[in-house]
Symmetry: C5
Subunit: 80 residues, 5 copies
């Protein structure tokens, strides 16, 4: 998994139908690359999180096929 | 997902049979890398979009097996 | 997908049994990285092509399980 | 697989339900990139390990769908 | 696929049960990155090989679920 820090949020009014409702957060990974991840946990900007990628991320959504390839799976404890 | 900006369009007259009809757009990702994504949304050059990759992208095409590994899943709102 | 230019061809006499017969072409991607892709289209050196990667590439081979993780899916039109 | 050295451990109290219990270790890969991998082997900081990634990592967890996309599959022998 | 040169071998006495028996070789890819791949062909150090990655590599192992995400699928002919 990638560890990253939440740096923003994006909204998409025009999207494909299978995009699940919920927060799309901007994450800056260790190393500096930036990507967008789906957040099922209600994280805040500045929080350090754990992100899983690829088909593993999409498999979290069990009801419908989801186009999500980056998923926040946990918030990293500050003392961790 | 990757956030990128649409910078062009490509056409392919000679292609495998399972390539779905539709727009193949050139996307410049955050960080500068360039790749080609399938666009089911009718996006324009200059638009900032959200792209999913890998088998998650191919799974969007439910009727036939598709060779698409990069799919535009949303246009990012300008104020977002 | 990745856009790249065909820069060579490789042969492999010693290979696993499930490697499909056909051309293995060297592709230089936008950005300069080089990799090897399976070509079902009969492309030539110098041609600019569209390459899909990962399990999406392997899924093209429907009769047998294939170890191909990079597949040329189209040749990009010169005016495109 | 990636070869890396274990450089730390992270904890996540706030996580999705499907995150399996067990150690989440920080791994520094050959080349310097850092990521987080699940450790089913009880490895220590400083140990050199072999890490598999993507859906291959998630498939290790057979009872439940797991969101793990990086898994330590072995510790590399020091004389190896 | 990635083309690389075999630069070494690693051993792992402590590993998960599903790791298949066989050679784990160090491969230096075109570009300089180093990774570890499973070798079903009996290749030697210095040999130039073709490596497939991800779930495509794991699918080679048909009897049991395998944690292998990098597989040598062929040795590249020297005149190739």
């Amino acid at each position: 998994m990638i560890r990253g820090r939440i740096t923003g949020r994006v909204w998409s009014s025009k999207h494909i139908e299978t995009l699940p409702g919920g927060a799309l957060l901007e994450v800056e990974a260790d190393g500096g690359a930036t990507f967008i991840a789906f957040d099922p946990l209600g994280c805040d900007i500045g929080e350090t999180v754990l992100v899983t990628q690829g088909s593993v991320a999409a498999a979290y959504f069990t009801k419908n096929k989801s186009p999500i390839d980056a998923l926040i799976i946990g918030s990293i404890d500050e003392d961790g």
